[in-house]
Symmetry: C2
Subunit: 330 residues, 2 copies
DNA sequence: CTGTTAGCGCCTTCAC
DNA sequence: GTGAAGGCGCTAACAG
């Protein structure tokens, strides 16, 4: 591969001149620029971005860490990230944290391969993040609570969302409300559960641990958890699934046993994923402002990069989406 | 940030020794290794990946170019890419080609920031790809036909898939079959259309251009195209949508006009996206072996990287998935 | 306006 | 087993 040296030589100028010409620094006469460009073309020269990054000690790109590139994840959120990033003339790469310490995400987090990072990958540990973040290397976390310098936190109000969901069920006349949880180490899940608990409390319904069954946010786990619920003989009047995927798994389990939703049992999810309105019955759920969360995250990164001071913590509101999976018994 | 120089100094050894120690090259006494590691830890040293890549002239990562990171795209395909990449100890980054010449995808394609590239982004031009590919920089295209050195092509048999879909409609007794196309510049679309034409021909049904309406693969365009079809008064017996998204848009348009699917009109899609089995009625469609395509693509990259010689072109078979959107009138 | 030169941080011969 | 030194390809002072 041709280097800038080759170009300079062929154009009969010094490397610096070639560099200036190629990068549009206006110190070079038009004639020289033309000569250099011609030479570059002849040699099919392409700059080595790595060398350039090394020299400039910045990459102009930010990374989005996802727990799994193949989703299903929040496409609205990514859209927000993408749009704001490119609007600021930066590049965006997405990488996955599958593989733990060996993963691409961790490598990018540690090795200064990007100028900033947005984390949406619960399997990256807090300490990993805290160690990586530093001045001039901001990281924004979207999936956890984390107090540390140089790390910002934007989250949607999962607690309030959990409260809204539960309250809605209660307002519709349900008292025995099961909660199918996400993984124990999920911050989102814990907040949603807190919201559930506090709604019960506020309406003087005593919490019963038999109504809490654990899942892990996958459709499969929602299916299994629901089967267990059904096996317990005494069905609750309603069930609150900590996310939509699990609710869809639950829908399937109920269907297999001939239990009608919402006639025999009401269900509500969380997230408002695209599928939610297509399943049958359409799923009532809690929507998160995902686009805004993504856009805000990038926005904050740029503010930190320009050393503006910003708040450390942001909390975005959730919203109830009424569809047809909850029956009104009130 | 601490550099390897700082580590060496603190450990009281030469830089080279520190490098060896840190990279596990067994030339260094255990005692020295310990000293170096201690120093690195004290300084919170992290290697600069960019510098390391520059020196080694390879990055150990491959890039996946998508036309839009926020999807909707083929998660199965990405899974295939992801798994094979990490199984080979390489890293994977995804980037988008939104923004054309300015996009991250183009930058990575040109600037040798990765060791190989997989393209699934129709808006990247052929010439861009041809210019970028070279020895030791393999690129695999999954979305087009392209003959050139150092670029490989794996595609699913869209033509045959189009044929299968159309033939299935014909076997079910339909004669007037509309085709809602994807964008004209889409290779996939053109192949599917060819399959449609050849099935008609084989069964002696004359092609009528009034049955071809153009869309652009979006749900919205399928909706609009279907509205136009309906406005033409004379409805076809069946319609073949060049992809599932458009078919879903069509479903909505038919529903709004009270036209029952499949009783009044049969429809078939292409892709077998996840939603396909959830819409109502469940969509009959053509499935592509997406996981295999992704896995194969990466596999080929590694073969090229190790200078093995491989075929230039791969064609994967498609399969008809029968659900309930086609009525048997035969 | 153009050329010389010194690194960016790391790896890796090559001597010792 | 350890150290000195030369780049990888590029940018950006600094001189001229």
């Amino acid at each position: 591969m041709a280097t800038i040296k080759d170009v300079a030589k062929r154009a009969g100028v010094a490397v610096s001149t070639a560099s200036y010409a190629l990068n549009g620094v206006k110190k070079v006469s038009p004639a020289t620029v033309a000569k250099v460009q011609k030479a570059a073309e002849d040699l099919n020269y392409q700059k080595n971005g790595i060398a350039s990054d090394l020299k400039r000690t910045q990459t102009n790109t930010i990374a989005l860490m996802l727990s799994d590139l193949s989703g299903p994840y929040y496409s609205e959120l990514i859209k927000g990230v993408q749009e704001v990033t490119s609007a600021n003339g930066y590049d965006l790469v997405a990488c996955s944290s599958i593989g733990g310490e060996q993963s691409t995400a961790i490598k990018f987090l540690k090795e200064k391969r990007v100028d900033g990072v947005i984390v949406l990958a619960h399997n990256i540990s807090d300490s990993m993040i805290v160690n990586a973040a530093r001045e001039n290397f901001p990281v924004v976390v979207l999936d956890r609570e984390l107090e540390s310098d140089h790390v910002l936190q934007v989250e949607v109000d999962n607690r309030h969302g959990g409260f809204l969901a539960t309250e809605y069920l209660i307002h519709n006349g349900h008292q025995n409300i099961a909660y199918i949880s996400g993984p124990y180490n999920s911050h989102d899940n814990n907040k949603r559960f807190q919201g559930y608990r506090s709604a019960l409390e506020q309406y003087n319904i005593t919490y019963q641990s038999k109504w809490k069954i654990s899942g892990d946010f996958t459709r499969e786990s929602g299916y299994r958890a629901t089967k267990m619920l059904i096996a317990q003989h005494h069905l609750p009047e309603a069930v609150f699934y900590a996310n939509d995927e699990m609710a869809i798994g639950g829908l399937q389990a109920f269907a297999e046993k001939g239990i009608a939703v919402p006639e025999n049992v009401s269900i509500i999810g969380f997230d408002d994923i695209q599928l939610a309105e297509y399943v049958s019955p359409p799923l009532t759920t809690i929507r998160q402002p995902k686009y805004e969360a993504g856009a805000l995250a990038v926005h904050l990164i740029f503010q930190l990069l320009t050393s503006e001071s910003v708040d450390r913590h942001y909390n975005l509101a959730t919203e109830l989406i009424e569809r047809q999976s909850v029956q009104n018994n009130a």
